[in-house]
């Protein structure tokens, strides 16, 4: 088969100075499933954004069917038969599935009006052709994440895509949904479509792809037939060092509980329960994992535990005090730290210096104030130590946080949140979107804190992270706890998937085991 896409010597610098692609060569054969793997921040998504016309390469050549092309915008790429399914779907929630699929080239009646019936027929026809199970008349915001992803793929097919780029499609899916997606992708391949599959999950890469291209820190480190290379070899190419997968973790020795959550509820404006009377304990010296499909109450739970939002009912007893209606400042003073889900919007002020970002929960401490003025020299010395201890890669602690890579930004957050030896840590997606090195650094820090007697709540969409790092865990579904496991070593991802999808639930007695004295 000839190459349908060839990229030569792609070089891309972002306006913030980050080199995302460092003279990358990449080619895809017609009709194959080609996996593009690498750690987060390795430049996979940028390379694909250049292919799809969202970003322009600084230098480099792009060939499509042997022709030198350059897509100035996604419309041009779509016209050439390239489609992309983003990590974050670009869809309109208030429209039907069919309307979303035809969006951009809608069937018309009387020239101006949308022909709804034809839209639905067209969508049903294309779904039938590719054997996608969807209901075209359903409103989009009633669809599950898995379905919304299918809609995104259908949309690309509807617009005539021969090459489909999928950016980490399984990150938001349960194991069952992933299986279904893979079946559909194989179907597409049989019908002659070419698929580029961005991932950093090597099991999936081995399972689905024909060839694999590995990227590491903006460079391409090789293209291989998937059959000829082992997972270990791929991971070494990705990370550049061997044996980085190992996590040294001893057995937990949980002590008494430090936080007891009792019948905690949060309602939205329509008085629906987002968090539905949940009860559990967090014990000293234990990492308690929380898993669930996004949007099943995890965010609301984190928000009330940390004081960002107030509970509408129930209590959170922390060191003998109900903190469910306390201020963030007070809760933090009591010894609770919080790694927020979205570091860029909440965890840091990107325009401020690293020092200022480290200082935000300590700036009113006596040791940093000298009368009315801040004691800048002791602040600077302290910040310098944090940068060193947490191996934050920067020229100076006075550099703006936005000049750092994602992993280093997260280290700034972690350095701040861990430097006061917290009794409780709420870690919400602590390693999302960062490189394996930084992720492992953070995991080890979490375990270190646990061993010092801290109690940690680890909320993560990454099942393998929860299974690797936490000691016990519970599963959330529609605002409720549907399963509790006191030892994660006995749990499999497939088993968790059934609870996450609401197919199964433990009985009340089993869930209550999560409440300790």
């Amino acid at each position: 088969m000839p190459d349908i896409i060839t990229m030569k010597q792609m070089y891309k610098v972002y306006p913030n100075g980050i080199v995302a692609n460092d003279y990358v060569d990449f080619s895809v054969k017609e009709g194959e499933i080609h996996a593009l793997v690498g750690e987060n921040g390795a430049g996979k998504t940028t390379l694909m954004k250049i292919l799809f016309g969202i970003e322009q390469a600084t230098t480099g050549e792009l060939y499509h069917n042997g022709q030198l092309v350059s897509f100035q915008n996604p419309q041009e790429a779509i016209k050439a038969g390239i489609g992309m399914v983003h990590q974050h779907f670009m869809q309109v929630g208030s429209m039907t599935v069919a309307e979303n699929v035809v969006l951009g080239s809608e069937p018309k009646k009387y020239r101006f009006l949308l022909d709804r019936k034809k839209a639905i027929d067209d969508t049903a026809e294309i779904a039938e052709k590719y054997k996608f199970k969807i209901d075209p008349a359903m409103r989009l915001d009633e669809c599950s994440v898995g379905t919304r992803q299918k809609i995104e793929i259908l949309k690309a097919l509807f617009h005539g895509a021969k090459v489909i780029i999928l950016d980490e499609p399984t990150a938001v899916l349960t194991p069952q949904e992933t299986e279904e997606l893979f079946r559909e992708l194989k179907g597409l391949k049989e019908r002659g479509h070419t698929i580029i599959f961005i991932s950093h999950k090597l099991n999936e890469v081995k399972e689905i792809s024909d060839r694999v291209t590995v990227m590491r820190s903006a460079k391409q480190t090789g293209t291989y037939d998937t059959e000829s290379i082992s997972k270990e070899e791929i991971s070494n190419l990705m990370v550049g060092r061997e044996g980085l997968w190992e996590l040294t973790k001893g057995k937990a020795t949980p002590n008494e509980s430090i936080i007891t959550v009792n019948n905690l509820s949060v309602m939205d404006e329509q008085r629906r329960y987002l968090l539905d009377h949940i009860s559990f304990s967090m014990r000293k010296g234990e990492i308690l994992g929380v898993v669930g499909v996004e949007g099943n109450g995890q965010r609301e739970l984190v928000d009330v535990l940390t004081g960002l939002n107030k509970a509408s009912g129930g209590s959170i007893m922390f060191k003998g005090e109900d903190i469910s209606k306390q201020s963030i400042h007070h809760i933090r003073e009591m010894g609770l730290s919080h790694i927020p889900e979205d570091r860029m919007t909440m965890g840091v002020a990107t325009e401020a210096s690293i020092t200022d970002n480290l200082l935000s929960i300590y700036f009113d401490k006596e040791s940093f104030n000298n009368g009315v003025l801040l004691d800048q020299s002791s602040i600077d010395a302290w910040a310098k130590d944090r940068v060193k201890e947490y191996a934050i890669k920067t020229k100076s602690p006075n550099a703006q946080v936005r000049s750092l890579s994602g992993g280093n930004i997260q280290k700034v957050v972690v350095a701040r949140e861990f430097s006061n030896n917290p009794d409780v840590v709420i870690a919400d997606q602590p390693t999302r979107g960062i490189d394996v090195g930084a992720a492992q650094f953070i995991h080890n820090k979490l375990i270190e804190l646990r061993d010092q007697g801290a109690s940690i709540l680890l909320v993560s969409a990454d099942l393998s992270e929860v299974l690797d790092v936490s000691d016990s865990l519970f599963v959330m579904y529609e605002g409720k706890i549907v399963a509790y496991f006191d030892d994660v070593t006995n749990v499999s991802a497939m088993e968790l998937g059934r609870f996450m999808l609401g197919i199964e639930a433990q009985d009340e007695e089993q869930i209550k085991r999560g409440i300790y004295a």
Binding site: V13, D364, L374
Partner: protein, 360 residues
Amino acid sequence: MLKLIKQRWLDQPLDNRFESIRFSMAIVISLIVTLVLVLLVSNEPLFALQQLFLGPLASIRKFGNVIESMIPLTFLGLSVAIMFSARQFNLGSSGALFLGGTVTAVVVLTLPLPGFVLSVVAILLGAFTGGLVTLIPAFIKLRFGASELVSSLMMNFIALNLGFFIILNYYRDPQAGSLASFEFPSSSLLVQLIPGTRIHTGLLLLFIMIVLIYLFIQKTKWGYALRMTGFNKSFATYSGISTGAVILYSQFLGGILAGMAGSVEMLGMYDRFRWQAMPTYAFDGVIVAVLAKNKPQYIPLAAFVLSYIRIGADTMSVNSDVSFQVIAIIQGLIIIMIAANAFLAKYRQRLVVQEAITND
């Protein structure tokens, strides 16, 4: 020597270098436009340009004018900068200036205090009144969620007409030809600082305030909380910083500085209340703050530049055939170029690429 300068320049962070280049480019382009405009409209372009650029230096009195008009501009610039640093878009500085000046006039006409004490009390009360003018929109925002931008603009009308109401009804001197209050006791007026000019002791107060505001924003925990709230309010809230308090005190302080501008102006430049409308410079705090990128240490410089081209334009319009409006056009250009982030963005991208390649 040249090499050393080049090295020091390259040691600066890229964004600082870029900002300096952009600022200079904005000035150079504006100058070229000025040149073209003057050449187009004037029969004596060289003379007009000379009046524009050198007019303010022609005499001590002229240069004095530059400094005099720079004083309220600097106060107003600080006022806006402190509010903008907290990302509070309160445009009530002009109302605060007006009512602050009014209250100062009222105090010196009412309170039976000895000279120096009287001016101090009058300025303090004027400043406090200014603070209230900008605090009200802040409070409304916090309590009811209304945009401070809209409510502060409305406050300006209230402040303006309340000021006129007070002076017209209680302090108007019927002997004076136009609208004016009774004469202030001469002992309450600010002392002239440099003979041959009207530069007054308000300048000293201004210097003290520049230093205090710089220290406040950069070196105190309240200034830290203010900056973090301005950078990213969600981050500040999440960190446990009381952003509500920041919203209130940043705008209160901003109003205090604007009120002080009015008070100092009233006692430094006038012998009675003579404002017939909102002073024309009342809105210029925003221009100064934008030019200085909200940095207190650059505010006096920005105010000086603005004041200098104003006085130059004045001189030019009086002595030559080019009108004052030409300057308003040029001012607008400079500000647009400095405020527009996309201006020279392509050039910035080239700098970034260069740096990325050399760092490899």
